[in-house]
Symmetry: C2
Subunit: 242 residues, 2 copies
């Protein structure tokens, strides 16, 4: 009994790996959030679809598990990488009592990598990835990670920088980061990575604090060596030019 | 004048995106480290090859730049993602005086994502990526990042955990991490991600300290919530089950 948890990348077929595509095509059932199902519908043929709305992640994984337990091969699809804020962890958790289920995680291009490529090369050296969503994580934990990552001079990639209920979270995050990083630290914002309307913007950390972002945005904050070269955000790989 | 900097993923064609493959096929010249050139030779047809040995990264980028300046389309290939310890940054730096060169970075599956998928789902929540190579970074900087990342309870992915000259670096790194993380923190090691001989191993942080690793290994250290489920390393996405 086989359950794939698949990262489909940013959305387009050109950034989905053959391994991801092949697993979907070998499956009897494709499970996932409605928006992601729509992204792959053209490539999977006529499959049974198990879709659930946003935020019903546990329900989504349980349904996929139960379908796999009937002997069907099931693919649970995630945007980006299944292992970065995706379903790979939760799927292992909901299947904990069913060791007979074989779970295979298939990686994809996550927004940190896809967005970095749009901006230039902000994550070429050590970096931290932090989600600003406090739905499942206390804000104190998020704040602590922002603070330590800034003190350590990591480049930082922020997932889920904003939503309607959390309109001021990027500002709160920048206020923490500004305690350790300079206001003129080069930063970047990417909207709709790998999709129609993809747009990268470069700004300073001070400007980022007041930037408008939404749930389709990924944010990048440079380290102390990051610079802007011809409109691209570039973090040197080492300190040879310091 | 076009210069692609391409992440080819772990190595096999099945984890290379169509976008990466298409850019190589559109190019006149493929540039890269000899070992990576060999990984793609079967897919690119009869192209001019510009290869340089390991560690001659600046020379490699300059040669690719100069070839592109003659009007040829050039692909510089990197294993994993071009933007994570890859050539994307250095290429922008060596082309700084040549704004007429258009550089396009094409992302790939980096070892953090590829290795995490082999182990289960260790990086599903916030994480830090740190290279233990001190060729271009002072050890003090690496040590500081290890310390802060551990204090912040990030999951941590270590690139370049060892080499012949740095045989004890993983041990030194674990000694720092052990100041903040428990000795029984679940960890994992992956060798030859996405290639022949791929092998994932789960251990504790205390065991990791004395593990044998080499330059083909990527190391994963869990956060305080990470657990082992049926031999897989799983970090919960949130703290709902705490």
């Amino acid at each position: 009994m086989k359950l794939y948890v698949i990262g489909i990348g940013p959305g387009g077929a050109d950034q989905m790996t053959p391994r991801a595509l092949s697993a979907m095509q070998k499956s009897d059932i494709i499970a996932g959030y409605t928006v992601y199902i729509d992204l792959v519908r053209d490539y999977i043929g006529n499959k049974e679809i198990l879709q659930t709305p946003m935020k019903q992640e546990i329900d989504r994984c349980v349904k996929a598990r139960d379908a796999a337990l009937t002997g069907k091969t099931v693919s649970m699809i995630c945007s980006g990488d299944a292992g970065v804020y995706g379903m790979a962890g939760l799927m292992h958790e909901v299947c904990a009592e069913y060791p007979e289920l074989e779970i295979e995680v298939i990686p994809g291009i996550t927004a940190a990598c896809g967005g970095a490529a749009v901006l230039g090369a902000p994550l070429v050296h050590d970096f931290a990835v932090i989600s600003l969503s406090d739905l499942l994580t206390p804000w104190e934990t998020i704040a602590k990670r922002l603070d330590f990552a800034s003190q350590a001079d990591f480049s930082i990639c922020l997932y889920n920088p904003s939503s309607r209920k959390r309109a001021d979270y990027l500002q709160k995050a920048c206020n923490i980061v500004l305690q350790s990083k300079a206001p003129d630290t080069p930063c970047g914002i990417v909207r709709n990575i790998g999709r129609d309307g993809e747009q990268g913007t470069i700004c300073t950390l001070a400007e980022l604090r007041d930037a408008k972002v939404d749930m389709f945005t990924t944010v990048f904050i440079g380290n102390s060596q990051t610079k802007v070269i011809h409109g691209k955000l570039v973090t040197p790989r080492g300190y040879e030019n310091k």
